[in-house]
Amino acid sequence: MENLEKILATHSFFADLSPKHLETVAGCAKNVRFEPGEFIFKEGEAADQFYLIRYGQVSVDSHIPSRGDATIDMVHAGEVLGWSWLFPPYRWHFDAKAVTLTRAIALDGKCIRRKKDEDHELGYRLMSFFASIMQDMLQATRMRLVDMYSQPTNV
């Protein structure tokens, strides 16, 4: 467990957590590994974990019949995968698949939800982290909606 705490502390996501909260979170954590092409989760399944990617690359996809898998996002080492575990109905909205060999820390969503409800300070810190990630994602999505690479069509 001590080892996982150390690993969690080096991850930017948890770098600011107090030792007490790190210990609490580490109690819900385990190391996982995914081979290239392996699904980490699939759309519609129960969202009962989230992942801190330590190594590798994960694609977040949505399957479109007759077109294949549309990649919505790529998650890289140092980043967080998944937030559907945080809000009801706790179901994944997209697929996640390892593009390369991927090593991550998986955090048990049920366990974290219970602990954050028991310790509101921890809950506040976690929600702040995820709100920041969601803001980044929302802004990135809005920028993509702008279609910024389009050019004038008059020359």
Partner: protein, 278 residues
């Protein structure tokens, strides 16, 4: 730089070769045999290409600045002139005026990290600067290229990007807005890559080229990383006609993009950048 006596007179060049880059973008290589025309250019400069009987367009030079005798232009086919240029075959004539305008300050980045941010066809005007940087690689710290396009099919110079990616002395990140599952690079806008790469912000020169809205977000991301304003360079695009600062079509505040630009240090145009009224 105006290389010959009458800058309004096009010089006849012939198409040596033509290469399709993407579904709407192509590269033409022109033979430069006219002795009055300079075969030399600086990275970031542009030529006015005249399709006889149709019209003239400003096109950045996308070839190697140290290879003389040829002029390489990468063009997106999006209007009457560029669609006409797309139909030309080897040996056919094109009128050329130039090279014009300011250039990427590659030597200003000597001793510093060089961060190149390109979007869409904006990679074409930056390619000569990349060639020059690679030719003088030992003079730089990190050499980083971030490139974004709409989709994998819109990625320009993909084979060359892959070659650069394999180099140990260069970092190349590619990203697209939309991808299908066999794409193994990034997904998202290119400006989101800026916080993900390691460079010494205080000691970095950033060269940015792409649609203006992309450059706007790139500047925000670079400033968030604390890259100094006077280390950020942009290539601006405006409706250039005369290319020598006379007609005023490309005026940007008190600047003429054709003569004072197209490459500007950001701090010089910051007051006029992103002004609706300009």
């Amino acid at each position: 730089m105006i290389a010959y006596s009458n800058p309004m007179m096009p010089h006849l060049c012939r198409i040596n070769s033509r290469k399709k880059e993407t579904h709407d973008t192509f590269t033409i290589t022109l033979d430069v045999n006219d002795e009055e025309m300079s075969p030399v250019f600086r990275p970031g400069q542009f030529n006015m290409l005249y399709l006889y009987g149709v019209g003239e367009v400003p096109i950045s030079i996308s070839g190697h600045p140290q290879k003389t005798g040829k002029m390489v232009h990468t063009i997106r086919s999006c209007g009457t002139v560029t669609r006409g240029l797309a139909r030309l075959k080897s040996g056919m004539p094109v009128g050329v005026r130039g090279p014009f305008g300011s250039s990427w300050p590659v030597t200003h980045a000597y001793g510093r990290d060089l961060l190149i941010v390109a979007g869409g066809i904006g990679l074409a005007p930056l390619r000569p600067a990349i060639y020059q940087a690679l030719a003088h690689r030992k003079h730089f710290g990190k050499l980083i290229l971030l490139y974004g396009a709409r989709s994998p099919e819109d990625v320009l110079f993909y084979k060359e990007l892959q070659t650069w990616q394999k180099r140990s002395d260069m970092t190349v990140y590619l990203t697209v807005d939309h991808a299908i599952s066999d794409w193994d690079h990034h997904v998202g806008v290119v400006t989101n890559l800026i916080p993900r790469v390691n460079f010494d912000a205080d000691d970095t020169v950033a060269m940015v080229c792409g649609p203006e809205i992309m450059m706007r977000y790139a500047i925000m991301a670079l400033r968030n990383q604390e890259v100094p304003e006077n280390h950020i360079y942009l290539s601006m695009e405006r409706n250039m006609k005369c290319a020598i600062g006379l007609c005023g079509h490309c005026q940007l505040g008190p600047k003429f993009v054709c003569k004072d630009g197209p490459v500007f240090p950001y701090h010089r145009i910051a007051p006029y950048f992103n002004k609706r009224e300009i």
